[in-house]
């Protein structure tokens, strides 16, 4: 675990972003839950509906809830205009606040239902108005229980906030996701450690406030509250103190190549004096939408991905024609500027162990289809939903005994462990450089081409200096160079390097 503490100390930025996000979400949750609880205590119907809704939200996996806010906010642009952010802080805040609602609401409603009826009658009997009764009697007597709910919500929210990385909001999820993709376990561990530590500190402080309220010790709950306030102020000032409007945001998807290319682009821009920031671990559709809406300035996308996901096309007009049509479509429909192709393809392909392929006498997808009913095939979580798989399946009549999902990073491990006989692979994958594996031919041309393209947001496209800085990247990266860079990050021996290092070496190789 060498470098664990050093890595941990580089997470300051992510930590403050995490604190600001989680605290805002809990704050919003409290703002919504408390009035709702007061109302629910006075109306059975409201109590049923509010608690039912909050429980329903709780059954949605946090990751899905976060992702769902992208289309929701996108459709709300019709009402609030194009300025409404669809990625990053806003959707993360809304999803996490919804998540925080249930424990606060439930505890507040329960606390009010359990108030001594004699005390409430006395409140009326001495002449309190509804508001006085709420503030002088109900609120202080419910406070310890409500605090317990806020405490539960905080621990949940701090944990779930790591997932906001996937919708482009910086958090302690960034090192976890990045580390998972590049098999950098120190990074994963540092992210987990920081997130868990934050949750424990928050739990302890809120617990102090809760006990202080229960014992009516002003010193105790005041002290806890003051500490929380100091922590938040610190995080806020750290987060917004050095905010820079001109920072160029570079997005990347959830695999090593994407992260390396983002670093390469970032280093190139920094060399020209631009400030950059990274958003890593984004899904394809989200990243594409983020660039179109200028929430993210630069991404590397692939012709085949955009062709099927965005243009909704399933035909295959050939490599160059596909690129040409995409450039035109983006210009007309999203305003995204496709600066050009980087020079290599990262196409979907099928890979097998060389010995297993020889044993089954398979060299092409046609051969594979013949023996498929006896075999298991592995793919990344989105693969079996993709049109590429459906095209291959239909073109070759492919029927496997079993289809299994693996994270892209573990795909080759699955092949090695014989968990799968064939896997979906990417043609630029570094591990294919080794002699151990073969890529299967596609004689019926079912798989479309996947040229890497540099995509610029409509905002950044206007920045001529940035465009000029990026132009040397166009056509500069061959598939061999990319494979080598990918391998240097994906390999598991002591020559494994961080994506930053791989990007620097790549830049040297291509002479930037």
């Amino acid at each position: 675990m060498s470098g664990f503490w050093e890595t941990l100390f580089t997470l300051g930025n992510k930590l403050t972003a995490h604190i600001v996000l989680a605290a805002s979400a809990i704050g919003l949750g409290i703002l919504v839950a408390l009035p709702l609880a007061v109302w629910a205590a006075r109306s059975q119907a409201v109590a049923r509906i509010a608690l039912g809704f909050a429980s329903l939200v709780q059954t949605i996996p946090a990751l899905a809830l976060l992702a769902l806010f992208f289309p929701v906010l996108l459709s709300l642009r019709a009402v609030f205009g194009e300025e409404l952010p669809t990625l990053g802080f806003l959707p993360a805040l809304l999803a996490l606040a919804l998540y925080a609602l249930l424990p606060i609401l439930r505890n507040a409603v329960t606390a009010q239902a359990n108030l001594d009826p004699g005390v409430l009658e006395a409140a009326d009997g001495v002449g309190m108005t509804g508001w006085q009764k709420l503030t002088l009697v109900e609120a202080p007597l419910s406070a310890p229980f409500i605090m317990a709910g806020i405490r539960t919500a905080s621990v949940w929210t701090i944990g779930a906030a790591t997932l906001s990385t996937t919708i482009g909001q910086p958090s302690l999820g960034d090192p976890i996701f990045a580390g998972l993709q590049t098999q950098n376990w120190v990074l994963v561990l540092a992210g987990c450690f920081a997130s868990a530590g934050l949750a424990m500190v928050a739990d302890a402080l809120l617990g102090l406030i809760e006990r202080g309220l229960a014992k009516r010790s002003r010193w105790q709950w005041g002290g806890g509250l003051a500490t929380v306030a100091i922590g938040l102020t610190f995080a806020l000032s750290a987060q917004f103190g050095d905010d820079n409007e001109d920072t160029i945001v570079i997005g990347s998807k959830q695999f090593s190549e994407s992260i390396i290319l983002a670093q390469l682009i970032g280093q190139q821009l920094e060399k020209e004096g631009f400030a950059v920031e990274y958003r890593t671990g984004l899904g394809s559709a989200i990243l594409h939408g983020a660039v179109a809406s200028s929430s993210i300035d630069i991404s590397v996308d692939y012709t085949g991905t955009v062709w099927t996901n965005e243009l909704k096309r399933s035909d295959n007009p050939g490599r160059d024609e596909m690129f040409r049509q995409i450039v035109e479509w983006e210009r007309e429909n999203t305003g995204t500027r496709v600066l050009g192709r980087l020079g290599f393809e990262n196409a979907y392909a099928f890979a097998m162990r060389r010995d297993r392929a020889a044993e089954l006498n398979v060299t092409s997808l046609e051969d594979l289809a013949a023996v498929a009913p006896r075999l298991a095939v592995g793919g990344d979580p989105e693969f079996f939903e993709r049109p590429e798989w459906i095209a291959v399946r239909d073109a070759y009549g492919m029927r496997f005994r079993e289809t299994r999902n693996f994270s892209p990073t573990f795909m080759f491990n699955a092949l090695e462990a014989r968990e799968a006989d064939a896997i979906s692979a990417y043609s630029s994958d570094g591990r294919l450089a080794a002699d151990t594996y073969i890529l299967l031919d596609d004689p019926r041309e079912a798989l479309p081409s996947y040229d890497a393209m540099l995509m610029l947001s409509p905002e950044l496209a206007k920045n001529e200096a940035a465009v000029a800085a990026l132009e040397p990247l166009i056509g500069a990266i061959s598939v061999e160079v990319m494979q080598e860079a990918n391998y240097s990050v994906d390999r598991e021996d002591d020559r494994k390097v961080m994506p930053e290092t791989a990007a620097r070496r790549l830049a040297e190789t291509i002479g930037l």
Partner: protein, 280 residues
């Protein structure tokens, strides 16, 4: 107490007061009560559980609103008075006591004036505590450090803190042990005299009513069925329902007396006869 029907002395006037519950008002809690309460009287409202006596009482300080009829307090309809003003002039003591557990005893006592924007001085709080026979030092305690009897004494002190004209008590001593109950009952009667209060006490205990009140109203199924002085009730007036309630403590007293006699006779028979000559 004199003429209870004279307008000049009437503090409280129930005018055909009704209270119904249920979607179509099919459950009758109070079914048309008309009655005047004279200033300075100590009235006991007696009846079995569910007879409507608590509901009638709560319509005075608008904790319950009448479905029909009016309650006039000093000639004004109580529902038209501001609840905070009304409840300052009307002290309320009830079985649940309802001390605010997060307030000190002193803060509990001072709550009524505080709601009206006044601060009760520590001396006044000490005085009120003394009135209900508690140590002034208790002002700094929390309610959960007190016994049940002490808590109800604080409840009485809280009801008196706003210098009320009318004291409403709903089964005030119901949860207390008999000794505390007797002592507190006596004390409340003394305070009633001392401050010239008008007091209405709801109770299901006819003995308590007969011993403390100077007028007893008997309720049954939401209606007033008797309105008598204790002496008249003991003399057999007020009708069958009232007399059934009077019969309970009377029978108990007679049985106790008989028991005492039996014990006395037994003691007398078995005692040595040496003193007999001297006594006769």
């Amino acid at each position: 107490m004199g003429d209870t029907n004279s307008d000049a002395e009437t503090l409280l006037h129930f005018e055909a007061v009704e209270r119904r519950y249920g979607a179509r008002g099919e459950v009758i809690a109070v079914g048309g009560v008309t009655c005047r309460i004279a200033r300075g009287s100590f009235v006991a409202l007696v009846g079995a559980s569910g007879s409507g006596k608590s509901t009638l009482l709560k319509m005075v300080n608008t904790l319950v609103e009448p479905s029909a009829g009016r309650v006039l307090f000093g000639g004004k309809d109580v529902t038209e008075l501001k609840p905070s003003t009304l409840r300052r002039r009307v002290g309320y003591v009830f079985q649940g006591i309802g001390l605010f557990p997060h307030f000190r005893v002193g803060e509990n006592i001072a709550i009524g004036p505080r709601l009206a924007g006044e601060t009760l001085s520590p001396e006044r709080i000490a005085e009120l505590l003394t009135l209900v026979e508690l140590e002034p030092e208790m002002a700094d305690r929390m309610p959960d450090e007190l016994s049940g009897g002490q808590r109800q004494r604080v409840g009485v002190a809280r009801a008196l803190a706003g210098d009320p004209e009318l004291l409403l008590m709903d089964e005030p001593f119901g949860a207390l042990d008999p000794i505390t109950r007797d002592a507190l009952g006596e004390r409340v009667r003394e305070l009633h005299e001392e401050f010239g209060l008008t007091t209405i006490m709801v109770t299901h205990d006819m003995a308590e009513a007969l011993l403390l009140a100077d007028r007893v109203l008997v309720m049954d199924a939401g209606r007033l069925v008797a309105d008598e002085r204790p002496s008249a009730l003991l003399a057999g007036k007020g009708g069958a329902i009232a007399q059934r309630l009077v019969a309970v403590p009377r029978d108990q007293a007679e049985k106790l007396a008989a028991l005492e006699q039996r014990i006395a006779r037994k003691t007398h028979a078995s005692s040595p006869s040496s003193g007999e000559g001297a006594a006769s």
